[in-house]
């Protein structure tokens, strides 16, 4: 648990200034970490044939106005169709299992489901992460964009 004792107006002012500098960085890093949990789960669920769709996945944090936004998505042109096409799930191999008879692994709703699974309680987790990262996290340039994997490495 972080505790800060300050005495005197100079120390208070210095502490407030460091908070002003560090808090946005900690918030961005916390968003990045929480987004990473959703992204990783999504990478496990996305259908894989030759791996192009999975590799088109991206996670990044961007500045928007006074705050930050974490973006998680898939850039393949057919990503939306595959995401919504629930009718093919019956012929796919369950995510995380080996492909059988040349069938693709994974499932539809490969982004929506991880999001719904992990969104509950996200405010509290973000606050905890931001508190832990206060004074440690670098600025947004220290958070590299992450791309999806082609194949393997579940």
């Amino acid at each position: 648990m972080a505790k800060n004792k300050v005495a005197g107006d100079k120390q208070v002012k210095a502490r407030l200034m460091s908070l002003e500098r560090d808090f946005p960085n900690a918030t961005a890093a916390a968003l990045y970490q929480e987004g990473g949990e959703i992204f990783n789960l999504s990478q496990e669920q996305v259908p894989v044939d030759n791996g192009d769709l999975r590799q088109s996945g991206v996670l990044k944090v961007v500045r928007r106005g006074d705050g930050f936004v974490v973006l998680i998505g898939y850039g393949a042109a057919y990503a939306l169709r595959i995401h919504e096409a629930t009718e093919y799930d019956a012929n796919r191999v369950e995510p995380g299992k080996d492909s059988v008879d040349g069938r693709t692994t994974g499932k539809s709703k490969f982004l929506e489901d991880p999001y719904l699974q992990l969104i509950g309680g996200i405010e509290g987790r973000l606050a905890k992460r931001a508190k832990m990262l206060l004074g440690i996290a670098g600025d947004i340039s220290s958070l590299p964009d992450i791309k999806g994997r082609k194949k393997g490495g579940r």
Binding site: K109, D113, I119
Partner: protein, 139 residues
């Protein structure tokens, strides 16, 4: 709660669609002598976790469920003139009939996007749209 059935009933009552003719419950199925090209499918598709909430001064515990339904709209065959625009109009009609228009017994029906998602053409060339609906109710 059979919310997929309730959505089908609501669409049957408030749109040009007719249950069993061009409005179906369950997974998307291909064209057959029973299922036309231009039609709508409603599927219960999971949703988010149940959220415990407290109601009233007594703090009685109730649970709010956030289920989701997927509504898929399919156009006529591409060869049919205006199949895209007719399909799009149908998708918008469905959207307008459901978004923020829950039937009795539900807290809210809320589309995830601001308009039907166009998801392209299927293998047979029909255009398709998808609407994802948050279905919120207490238990």
């Amino acid at each position: 709660m059979d919310y997929d059935q309730d959505i089908v009933d609501a669409l049957d009552a408030t749109t040009s669609l007719t249950k069993g003719t061009d409005l179906f419950m369950g997974a998307v199925r291909g064209f057959s002598n029973l299922i036309p090209y231009k039609c709508v499918f409603v599927t219960a598709s999971g949703g988010g976790p149940t959220r415990p909430i407290k109601a009233g001064l007594s703090g009685v515990g109730i649970q709010e469920r956030h289920a989701s339904a997927q509504i898929r709209i399919r156009s006529d065959a591409e060869a049919v003139s205006g199949s895209f625009s007719v399909g799009q109009s149908l998708a918008r009609e469905v959207f307008d009939a459901l978004h923020f228009k829950p039937v009795a017994g539900y807290c809210e029906w809320r589309a995830v996007s601001s308009a039907p998602l166009y998801i392209g053409q299927n293998e047979e060339g029909q255009h398709e749209w998808s609407i994802n609906l948050d279905v919120i109710f207490d238990i």
